[in-house]
C-alpha cells in the first residue's frame, strides 16, 4: 500500500471518528421537561423548601395518628362509641397494623426529607441577601432537630431502631445488615443531636415573627432531649432501674426548665383554656411549639359537642373520643383529695369515695374540683362559652349530659353505630381541649385548634418524675407543686393523706401528669413506659345521669355504669407496637418483636 493511500485511509478513519465524537455530544443534553436538583440550588423557594418540607410528615392534625381516632381512645382516658377498633379488639397484628402508615411510613418519609435537606442545604447558591449564612445554619439545625424528633417518634412506638443520617440510594441492598441498637444507644444518639443544636445555638429560643412560630426553636431541642431521656430512664426501657439514666433525665429536665425560664412561663389559670384554642401565630408564654395546622373542623365536627339543638350551626357528626369516668376521677377536690379512693368492683361500677366527695342525687359531683376539670372536660351542667353570633351579654351555653337530653344527652348503647347515638357521649362527658362553642359549622370557623407539640408544664412533670425515681422527694415535690400551684391546687405536702414516701409521691406525680396532659397524646405512651398497661387499661365506666323530671331543672341522680366494650389491649404484648409485617420481613436484622411473632 502506498504511503499516500495510507494517509487517505487514516484521514478517512479520523474523519469517521470525528463525526462519532461529535455525535456523542448529542447524547448529553438533559431533558428540558424535568426540574433537576442542580437547578434548585440557587432558588430561594427551593432552599427554604428543603427545610420546610421536613415538617410535612409531622403528625400535625388530631386525626392523622391512628385511623382517625384520637390516640387517647387507645388509653383509659378515652372512649369512642361505635365500632370497636382492632386495637381494643385485640385484633392488632403485624399484618393488620393500624399504626403502619400513620407512624411508621410517615416518620421514615420525614427522615428521608431531612437527610435530603441536610445534603442540599449546605450547597445553597442563593444570594446571601435572600438567605444568609445564619439563615442556612438555622435551616440545618431545624432539620437536624426534626430528624431527631422523627427518630424519637419511631422508637417510642416501635422500640429501638438505628439512627439514619443519609438518604439511602435506591440500589442499596444491605437491608439485612441493619440491626436494632439498644434503646439507650439510640436515645443517647438522639440526645446528642439535640445537644449539637443546643451547642450551635443559632436557633432562637423563640422565633421573632409570628410567621415563623411553626418552626422548631431552641426550646424544642431542650424539650425533646428531656422527653427522650425520660423515656430512656422509664421502666419499660430501663428494667434494671439504672439511676444514672434517671439522673440524666432529671438533668435534662432541669436544663430545659432553666434554659427556657427566661423566655417561657406557665400561663395563669385564668387563660389556661386559651392554650388549646389558639392559632400557631399567637404568641403564648407556655407553648414551645404548636402545629401549623388548624384542625378545628375535625375536633368540633367529628369529635365534638353537638350544639345544633342549642342554636349553633355546629352539628357534630360524632362525639368522638370522650373522657372516661376514670379520667374524671383523677381530678382532685380543691383540697387536694382524690374523690375516689378505690374501685370496689371489677367493672368500676361501684367505688368508695373520699369523705368530701359524693354522687348522691341532687348533689353536684363536679363542684369543688380542680379547675382544670372545667378546662378539659365538658360535664353535666358545665358552661361551654358562647357560639358565634350569640349575644355577648347573654349567658354562656350550659351543657347537660343527662339521659334523654336532646343533642348532648347520654348514649346508653355504646356499640351502636347509628348517627344519633354516636353524636351523644356514652360516658356522660365530652372532651373540651381544642374544642370550642364558638366553632361555627363547617364553613367558617371561629376558634382554632392547633395541636400543641411541647409546652412548658410537661418539663416540670418530667423533672418531678425523674427526681422522684432518684428518691429526691423534696425536689420532686417542689417541681410538682409548680404545676399544682398554677392550677390553684394545694402543695402536695398539704393534701389529705400525704405521706412522704416515694410510692405516694410517684402515684401523685403520675396522677398530676394524667390530669395536666390529658388528651395531649401523652397517656398512651406513659401507660407503656411505666408498664402499667395491664393494671390500668382494663374496664372503663361512665356516668349515667338522670333528671327527675327529664328537664334541665330536675334533680339529677348519678349512676356509674360500666361501659360494655371489648378492651383487650392490655397485656404486655401491647407495650411496644409491632412493626408492619412486610417491613419486618424485609428487614430481617431488625425483625419483629418476639411478642408479635
Amino acid at each position: 500500500m502506498k504511503r499516500k493511500n495510507i494517509f487517505h485511509f487514516k484521514s478517512g478513519l479520523f474523519l469517521l471518528l470525528l463525526i462519532l465524537v461529535g455525535c456523542v455530544k448529542d447524547l448529553d443534553p438533559l431533558p428540558t421537561d424535568k426540574v433537576l436538583v442542580d437547578q434548585l440550588l440557587n432558588k430561594q423557594p427551593a432552599i427554604a423548601g428543603f427545610a420546610s418540607n421536613c415538617y410535612q410528615q409531622l403528625n400535625n392534625s388530631f386525626s392523622g395518628q391512628s385511623s382517625g381516632l384520637l390516640l387517647d381512645a387507645y388509653t383509659d382516658d378515652g372512649f369512642r362509641a361505635g365500632t370497636v377498633s382492632d386495637w381494643q379488639n385485640g385484633m392488632l397484628t403485624p399484618v393488620n397494623n393500624l399504626f403502619a402508615n400513620s407512624i411508621w411510613t410517615a416518620c421514615w418519609t420525614g427522615i428521608r426529607k431531612c437527610n435530603i435537606a441536610l445534603i442540599y442545604l449546605p450547597q445553597s447558591k442563593v444570594d446571601t441577601i435572600l438567605i444568609g449564612p445564619t439563615d442556612l445554619k438555622r435551616y440545618v439545625d431545624e432539620v437536624k432537630l426534626i430528624r431527631a424528633w422523627y427518630h424519637f417518634t419511631l422508637i417510642k412506638n416501635f422500640g429501638p431502631l438505628p439512627f439514619i443520617d443519609q438518604p439511602f440510594e435506591t440500589d442499596y441492598t444491605g437491608w439485612a445488615t441493619l440491626t436494632r441498637p439498644t434503646y439507650d444507644g439510640i436515645s443517647n444518639r438522639i440526645a446528642k443531636e439535640c445537644d449539637e443544636v443546643i451547642a450551635s445555638g443559632v436557633l432562637p429560643m423563640k422565633w421573632a415573627n409570628a410567621t415563623d412560630f411553626y418552626r422548631v426553636n431552641l426550646g424544642v431541642a431542650y424539650a425533646l432531649k428531656s422527653e427522650v431521656l425520660l423515656y430512656n430512664a422509664s421502666l419499660l426501657n430501663n428494667p434494671a432501674a439504672d439511676q444514672a439514666k434517671w439522673q440524666k433525665a432529671a438533668d435534662a429536665a432541669q436544663a430545659c426548665i432553666t434554659a427556657l425560664g427566661a423566655t417561657y412561663s406557665l400561663t395563669p389559670m385564668a387563660s389556661y383554656g386559651n392554650l388549646f384554642t389558639q392559632d400557631v401565630t399567637v404568641a403564648n408564654s407556655e407553648v414551645i411549639l404548636r402545629s401549623n395546622f388548624n384542625d378545628a373542623a375535625v375536633m368540633n365536627n367529628n369529635n365534638g359537642v353537638d350544639l345544633k339543638a342549642l342554636g349553633s350551626a355546629t352539628q357534630s357528626a360524632n362525639c368522638g373520643t370522650v373522657p372516661t369516668q376514670e379520667l374524671v376521677d383523677c381530678f382532685e377536690m380543691t383540697n387536694g383529695a382524690l374523690p375516689v379512693s378505690s374501685y370496689t368492683s371489677n367493672d368500676h361500677s361501684t367505688v368508695s369515695f373520699n369523705s368530701t366527695y359524693n354522687e348522691n342525687a341532687g348533689s353536684d359531683p363536679y363542684a369543688g374540683r380542680d379547675l382544670r376539670l372545667q378546662s378539659s372536660v365538658v360535664f353535666n351542667k358545665s358552661t361551654y362559652g358562647k357560639y358565634k353570633g350569640q349575644l355577648a351579654t347573654g349567658p354562656d351555653l350550659l351543657i347537660y349530659t343527662y339521659l334523654g337530653k336532646t343533642g348532648t344527652g347520654f348514649n346508653i348503647n355504646p356499640s351502636s353505630q347509628l348517627i344519633n347515638d354516636v353524636r351523644q357521649s356514652s360516658t356522660g362527658y365530652y372532651s373540651k381541649k381544642y374544642r370550642s362553642a364558638s366553632y361555627w359549622g363547617s364553613t367558617t370557623g371561629g376558634t382554632n385548634s392547633n395541636k400543641i407539640y411541647f409546652r412548658l408544664a410537661e418539663f416540670y412533670l418530667n423533672q418531678a418524675e425523674a427526681l422522684c425515681e432518684l428518691n429526691n422527694l423534696d425536689g420532686a415535690i417542689a417541681a410538682l407543686n409548680v404545676i399544682r400551684v398554677r392550677a390553684g391546687q394545694p402543695g402536695l405536702a398539704n393534701v389529705p393523706g400525704f405521706v412522704k414516701t416515694q410510692d405516694f409521691v410517684r402515684q401523685r406525680i403520675r396522677n398530676e401528669r394524667r390530669v395536666e396532659l390529658c388528651f395531649e397524646d401523652h397517656r398512651f405512651y406513659d401507660q407503656r413506659r411505666w408498664k402499667i398497661l395491664s393494671s390500668t387499661n382494663g374496664p372503663i365506666s361512665g356516668m349515667k345521669i338522670t333528671s327527675s323530671n327529664g328537664t334541665d331543672m330536675g334533680i339529677f341522680s348519678y349512676q356509674r355504669i360500666a361501659i360494655s366494650t371489648t378492651r383487650n389491649a392490655s397485656d404486655d404484648k401491647y407495650l411496644v407496637l409491632p412493626i408492619p409485617d412486610a417491613e419486618a420481613r424485609r428487614l430481617p436484622g431488625i425483625g419483629q418483636l418476639p411478642a408479635w411473632k
Binding site: 500500500m1 493511500n5 487517505h8 485511509f9 478517512g12 469517521l16 463525526i19 462519532l20 455525535c23 456523542v24 448529542d26 447524547l27 448529553d28 443534553p29 438533559l30 431533558p31 428540558t32 421537561d33 424535568k34 426540574v35 433537576l36 436538583v37 434548585l40 423557594p45 427551593a46 432552599i47 427554604a48 423548601g49 428543603f50 420546610s52 418540607n53 399484618v95 411508621w104 411510613t105 421514615w108 418519609t109 420525614g110 427522615i111 428521608r112 426529607k113 435530603i116 435537606a117 431502631l161 438505628p162 439514619i164 438518604p167 439511602f168 435506591t170 440500589d171 442499596y172 437491608w175 441493619l178 412493626i579 409485617d581 412486610a582 417491613e583 420481613r585 424485609r586 428487614l587 431488625i590
Partner: protein, 1021 residues
C-alpha cells in the same frame, strides 16, 4: 445497494477451484454453465491463483493454456459458488457447472448461505404474497420459525400486532425491532408486493451488532430492487370478501326475556343472602308472562320485537379491492423497481349515510401506496441509490364517541339483546333501547352508528433512503466505503365531525278510558345538533445516518471480511423529547476453504436515556460454523448435499424504555420548585442484558429434503424491576410506588426451532413441495426482587419461578348445587360475596378455612403459546397449483372474557342456556355455566374460565392456474395467472364455545378476526 454489495463480496468470496489433468503447455477448452443450463460469460479462469488466464466468451466457451497436467483451475464468477463437479475428464469440451450462490440478508449486509454462522431464517416475498393478506405481519403469521405474531387490533387501516422472536426475554417492554432496507422503521407502510424477502435474526451472532436494541430479535425486510434487463411489469388485481371467522350466537328475544327473568331471580336471591339492598323486583323487574308471550308469538313486533342485532348491524362481507403494478428493470447505469398500489377496504359494519345532514359516515379505508428503489452507477467505482416509499391512507368511520373506536362499538352491539326496540320510530326518530337492562340502558346502536357524525383520518407516511458506495480497491484491495442517510416522517390528521341526536323511547300512554297503550315520547334533554368540528393530529419523524467501511478479500483459501459501522439513529414523536442511539459496530469474519467459519460481532452503543458513564455498552458475539459437506468424507456424498453445524454465543440488550413520557430519563430524579422529590431516579439504571447461546444444524439430503434446527438458551440479566418490593419503606422513606426501576431481575428462556422442507419434481408436470416448522420456547423468571408472601399463602411467590404471563387465580371444584354444600364449604365470601346455589366453588388451597387471595394458584400455561407451528403443502401440476397452509399453537391457555366468561353484559348466548338451574341438577343435562346473574363472585379469574387455547388453523387455501405460455404470449403477456384463495377458512380448537375466535384478543369484544375469500389475476409483461 444490495446488488452492489453482492458483487464485491462475491468477487472475492466465490472461488471455484477445479483440478484438471493436462500436459505441459496443453490447452484446455470447455464451456461454463449454471445449474439451470444457462451459459455464463465473463467467468474468470485462473491457474494456481495466478493473474487472469482466461475468460469465458459470450457463448460461455473458454480456452486456457496450462503449463502441465494435472493443473488446478479456479473458476470465479460473481454470484456463483463452487460446483461439486470437479472431476473433468475431457481436455476439450469440458462442461463446468457453477452453482448460484444463495445470499441471505444479515445485519447491515448479506452473507452467502455457506458462511452464515448465526441463527436466521429467510422467507421469500413470493411465498408471503401468496397469502394475499392486507398486511405484512398477518402474512408472516406461522411462516418464520421462532416468530410469533398476535394481532391485537384487526380494524382495517389500524391493525396492530404484538410480535415476539423466541418468546419472552423480559417481562418489560421488549418489542422485536423491524428493519426495512437496513433501517429501523415502522413496517406498516410496506406492501406485500414490494417485498423481496423477510429474514428473522434470532441468536446473539445475528443480533449483537444491534447492541442494546437487539435482545427481542430482529426482522429484516428487504424490498425488491431493479434488474439489468428488459423491464418486467407485473399487474395484480384482487377482489376479496372478508367476514368474521366467528360471531357470538346471541339468543332470541323470547329466550333473552326468559333468561333475563332467570338471572334477575338469582340476583334477587343473591342480594337477600348478602343482606344488601334488593335488586329491582316485582312487576317492573321481570318480564311478565304476557310480555313473554308477545316475544314468543311475535304478534306485536313494534313493541315486542324479535331482532337479530348482529346480523342487522354487521355486513355479511367486507369488500376489499386491490390493484398493484410493479415495474422492474434497468441497465448497467441505472436500475429501478417501482410499485404502485391502491387498496380499498370496506367495513364489516353496515352503516348508512345521513343525507339530512349531508355527511357520509360510511366505513371505509382507502390507501394509495408507492415505492421506488433506484440504483445508479455513477462510475465503475461509485454507486448511489435512492429509495422512496410511502402511502396516503384515508379512514372514514362514524364518530362513535370521543376516544372510542370500533372495539367499543362491537362491545355495545354484543351487549344489546335481540328484544331491543326498533331503530326508529315510525316518524324516523332514533329510538333508544330502554329495557330492563341494568348496565347500559340508554343506547341505540343505530344512533351511535348513523347519527353521531363522522371522523376522517388521513395518514401519510414517507420513508426515504439515500446512499452511496465508493470502492476503494486502489487504496486497499477489497475495501469500500458506504454512506447512507435515511429519514421517515409519519403524520396523521383526524377530522372529527360530531353531533348529538334526539332520542325517543317507548312509553306507556295512560288512557282516559279503557286499557293503557304503548306509544313514543322524546327523551327529555336530548336534542339534534349540527356537526361540531374538531381535529386530532399526530406527528413522528426519525432519521438514521451511517458511515460504513467494508473489507472483503480472499487470500488463497483464506477469506476475510470486515465491517466497521458508525451510525446515529434519532426518533421524535409528538411532544416527546427526541431519543438518540449511537452505534459503533464491527464485524469480522474469517473463513478457511469455505469449510470453517469464524465470525465476531461487536456493537458499542449508547443512548441518552442512561446516565453519563452508564450510557454506552459493548455487546459482543462470537460464532463458529463448519460446513461438513465440504469435507472430503462428504464431498461426493449422494445423500448429503449440504451439512452445516454452527454455534454462537454473545450478548444483546433491551433498553426497556419504550419511548413514552413516563419512561424517559429514568436515571434522573426530578424535583418540584419547593424542593420535594417528585420522581426518584436511579442513576444506575441501564439496559437489560441477554446472553444467548445457540447451536444449529442445516442440512440438505437427497437433493429434495432440507432440514434446519436450532436449540437456544438465553440467560437474561439486569432485568428491570419496577416498584422493588423487597425494599422496606422504613429507612428508605419511599413507598413502593415511588421507587425507581432498577436492574435487579433475571430470567431464562430456552427452546428450539425445527424447519423441514421437501421439494420434489416428480416429472415435468408435477412438483410437490411440503414444508413445516415448529418452535418451542419457555421462559422462567428467576430473581425479581419480589417480596415473598407470608407462609399462610398457598404460593409465596407470584413471579419468581414462574413464566412471564403466568395466569394467577383460583382453583375451582365445580358448582354449588345446594345451600347445604355451601354451608359445608370453607367461607369464600372474602372474594366478594356469599355464594348461592349455582355459584362456583373455589378451593381453599392453604386450608385455613377462608378462601381469599392467599389461595391463588398459578393457572394454565400462560397467554403466550409455548409451541407454535406451521405446515405448508404446495402441489404444482401443469398449469395448476394448490397450496394449503396450516398453522397453530399449543401449550397456550386462554383467559375467557366477554361472552366467554360471564354475562356481565346485558345479553346471553346460546351457550349460556346450559347455565346452572336447580332443575338441571342430577338430570344429566349438561351444565357448562354457573347460574346466571350479574352479581356474584363467579366472574373472578379461576380455572373455570382459563381454558386450553391450543388451535389449528387452515390459514391459507390457494388454487391457481397459469394460462399456457402460447395463450399468454398471444395476449402479449409473459404469464397470466388466475387464482382463488381463502384466508382463515377453518379453525379447530378446544374452547367451550364457538362464540369467538381462539386468537381473538381479550375475549370477543374486539374487532373480530376475519376470514377472507380472495379472487385475483396476475399478469406479467
Amino acid at each position: 445497494m444490495k446488488k452492489l454489495l453482492k458483487r464485491y463480496i462475491l468477487l472475492l468470496c466465490c472461488i471455484f477451484l477445479g483440478t484438471l489433468y493436462a500436459q505441459a503447455q496443453q490447452r484446455i477448452s470447455g464451456k461454463v454453465t449454471d445449474n439451470n443450463g444457462a451459459i455464463l460469460s465473463g467467468v474468470v479462469i485462473t491457474q494456481n491463483g495466478n493473474p487472469i488466464s482466461a475468460e469465458t466468451d459470450q457463448k460461455g466457451n473458454f480456452t486456457i493454456s496450462v503449463n502441465k497436467l494435472p493443473a488446478s483451475l479456479s473458476f470465479v464468477f460473481p454470484g456463483y459458488n463452487k460446483s461439486h463437479s470437479n472431476h473433468v475428464k475431457a481436455q476439450n469440451n469440458a462442461v463446468i457447472v457453477m452453482e448460484k450462490t444463495v445470499y441471505l440478508p444479515v445485519a447491515y449486509g448479506e452473507q452467502s448461505k455457506h458462511s452464515v454462522t448465526a441463527s436466521t431464517y429467510t422467507i421469500s416475498g413470493e411465498e408471503l404474497v401468496a397469502t394475499r393478506a392486507t398486511s405484512l405481519l398477518i402474512a408472516l403469521q406461522g411462516k418464520l420459525p421462532g416468530l410469533r405474531v398476535i394481532e391485537t387490533d384487526g380494524e382495517p387501516g389500524r391493525e396492530s400486532f404484538d410480535s415476539h422472536v423466541r418468546g419472552y426475554n423480559s417481562p418489560n417492554s421488549n418489542g422485536t425491532i423491524f428493519y426495512v432496507d437496513g433501517v429501523e422503521r415502522y413496517i406498516t407502510g410496506v406492501d406485500l408486493n414490494e417485498v423481496e424477502s423477510v429474514t428473522i435474526l434470532k441468536d446473539a451472532a445475528a443480533t449483537s451488532i444491534y447492541g442494546m436494541r437487539g435482545s427481542a430479535g430482529v426482522i429484516i425486510i428487504t424490498t425488491k430492487k431493479g434488474l439489468v434487463g428488459k423491464t418486467k411489469i407485473n399487474v395484480t388485481i384482487d377482489h376479496t370478501l372478508a367476514s368474521p371467522t366467528r360471531l357470538p350466537h346471541t339468543v332470541s328475544a323470547y329466550d333473552y326475556a326468559r333468561m333475563f327473568n332467570q338471572r334477575r331471580a338469582n340476583d334477587t336471591l343473591y342480594a337477600d343472602v348478602q343482606g344488601s339492598a334488593p335488586v329491582i323486583s316485582g312487576p317492573t323487574g321481570f318480564y311478565s308472562d304476557a310480555e313473554l308471550q308477545h316475544y314468543q308469538i311475535g304478534d306485536s313486533t313494534q313493541f315486542y320485537p324479535n331482532r337479530n342485532m348482529i346480523s342487522e348491524f354487521l355486513n355479511d362481507y367486507m369488500k376489499v379491492d386491490r390493484v398493484n403494478v410493479t415495474l422492474q428493470g434497468g441497465n448497467k447505469l441505472m436500475r429501478y423497481f417501482t410499485s404502485l398500489g391502491f387498496t380499498s377496504q370496506g367495513s364489516i359494519f353496515a352503516n348508512e349515510d345521513f343525507p339530512k345532514y349531508s355527511y357520509d359516515a360510511a366505513s371505509f379505508t382507502k390507501r394509495f401506496n408507492f415505492r421506488t428503489n433506484l440504483e445508479v452507477s455513477l462510475n465503475p467505482n461509485l454507486e448511489a441509490w435512492l429509495n422512496v416509499g410511502g402511502y396516503i391512507q384515508n379512514i372514514n368511520a362514524p364518530f362513535i364517541g370521543a376516544g372510542l373506536g370500533w372495539n367499543d362499538m362491537i362491545n355495545k352491539l354484543y351487549q344489546t339483546p335481540n328484544n331491543a326496540f326498533n331503530n326508529l320510530t315510525p316518524t324516523g326518530e332514533v329510538l333508544i333501547n330502554r329495557s330492563k337492562m341494568t348496565n347500559s340502558p340508554l343506547q341505540s346502536i343505530y344512533g351511535m352508528m348513523n347519527r353521531t357524525g363522522y371522523q376522517l383520518e388521513t395518514i401519510t407516511r414517507l420513508s426515504n433512503t439515500f446512499g452511496f458506495r465508493q470502492k476503494l480497491d486502489k487504496l486497499i484491495p477489497g475495501l469500500s466505503a458506504t454512506g447512507q442517510f435515511a429519514f421517515d416522517i409519519n403524520s396523521s390528521n383526524m377530522q372529527l365531525r360530531s353531533r348529538t341526536y334526539q332520542t325517543w323511547e317507548v312509553v306507556t300512554l295512560k288512557a282516559r278510558s279503557g286499557a293503557d297503550s304503548l306509544g313514543y315520547a322524546a327523551v327529555p334533554g336530548s336534542t339534534n345538533s349540527s356537526l361540531r368540528d374538531a381535529q386530532n393530529t399526530s406527528f413522528y419523524y426519525m432519521y438514521d445516518m451511517r458511515a460504513m467501511l467494508n473489507y472483503n478479500r480472499d487470500f488463497g483459501k483464506h477469506s476475510v471480511t470486515g465491517l466497521l459501522l458508525a451510525e446515529k439513529y434519532m426518533q421524535q414523536s409528538q411532544s416527546l423529547l427526541p431519543s438518540n442511539y449511537l452505534n459503533l459496530a464491527s464485524r469480522f469474519t474469517y473463513a478457511y476453504d469455505n469449510r470453517y467459519f469464524v465470525e465476531a460481532n461487536a456493537s458499542y452503543q449508547g443512548n441518552e436515556q442512561f446516565a453519563k458513564g452508564k450510557r454506552f455498552g459493548l455487546f459482543p458475539s462470537l460464532s463458529l460454523g463448519w460446513v461438513l459437506s465440504e469435507e472430503k468424507f462428504l464431498h461426493n456424498s449422494k445423500n448429503i448435499s449440504f451439512l452445516k453445524l454452527r454455534a454462537s454465543a454473545g450478548q444483546s440488550g433491551n433498553t426497556v424504555y419504550d419511548y413514552s413520557t413516563a419512561n424517559q430519563y429514568l436515571f434522573l430524579s426530578s424535583w418540584n420548585a419547593s424542593g420535594n422529590e417528585v420522581k426518584v431516579g436511579n442513576p444506575n439504571i441501564s439496559w437489560e442484558t441477554s446472553t444467548k447461546y445457540n447451536v444449529g444444524i442445516e442440512a440438505a439430503f437427497f437433493k429434495s429434503l432440507t432440514f434446519q434446527a436450532d436449540i437456544f438458551y438465553n440467560k437474561n440479566t439486569d432485568i428491570v424491576v419496577n416498584g422493588i418490593a423487597i425494599i422496606p419503606t422504613g429507612f428508605m422513606g419511599l413507598t413502593t410506588g415511588q421507587l425507581p426501576p432498577a436492574n435487579l431481575g433475571d430470567n431464562t428462556n430456552k427452546g428450539f426451532e425445527v424447519a423441514v422442507g421437501y421439494n420434489k419434481k416428480i416429472n415435468n408436470d408435477l412438483t410437490v413441495n411440503v414444508s413445516g416448522n415448529m418452535s418451542y420456547s419457555h421462559n422462567k423468571r428467576g430473581f425479581m426482587a419480589e417480596f415473598a408472601n407470608d407462609s399462610t399463602f398457598a404460593y409465596r411467590y407470584r413471579q419468581q419461578g414462574y413464566a412471564i404471563n403466568q395466569f394467577w387465580g383460583y382453583k375451582t371444584a365445580g358448582l354449588f348445587n345446594t345451600q347445604e354444600e355451601i354451608n359445608a364449604w370453607p367461607n369464600q365470601s372474602a372474594l366478594g360475596g356469599k355464594p348461592i346455589p349455582g355459584d362456583i366453588k373455589y378451593v381453599d388451597l392453604n386450608r385455613d378455612g377462608i378462601i381469599d387471595q392467599k389461595d391463588q394458584a398459578p393457572l394454565g400455561d400462560g397467554s403466550a403459546p409455548d409451541i407454535s407451528f406451521g405446515f405448508n403443502t404446495q402441489v404444482n401440476y401443469k398449469g395448476f397449483d394448490l397450496n394449503l397452509f396450516f398453522n397453530g399453537s399449543a401449550l397456550r391457555t386462554v383467559n375467557l372474557n366477554g361472552f366467554g366468561r360471564w354475562s356481565n353484559q346485558d345479553n346471553f348466548t346460546e351457550h349460556m342456556k346450559n347455565a346452572w338451574t336447580p332443575d338441571k341438577v342430577g338430570t344429566g343435562v349438561p351444565i357448562v355455566y354457573p347460574r346466571l346473574g350479574v352479581n356474584s363472585t363467579n366472574n373472578i379469574t379461576s380455572d373455570y374460565w382459563i381454558k386450553d387455547g391450543s388451535y389449528l388453523r387452515l390459514r391459507i387455501t390457494l388454487i391457481g392456474y397459469n394460462l399456457p405460455q402460447k395463450l399468454s404470449k398471444f395476449l402479449n403477456a409473459s404469464s397470466i395467472r388466475f387464482y382463488a384463495n381463502g384466508l382463515n377458512l377453518f379453525v379447530w380448537d378446544k374452547l367451550p364455545t364457538d362464540d369467538f375466535d381462539p386468537e381473538a384478543h381479550a375475549g370477543n369484544t374486539v374487532y373480530p378476526v376475519l376470514k377472507a375469500y380472495n379472487f385475483g389475476v396476475s399478469v406479467k409483461f
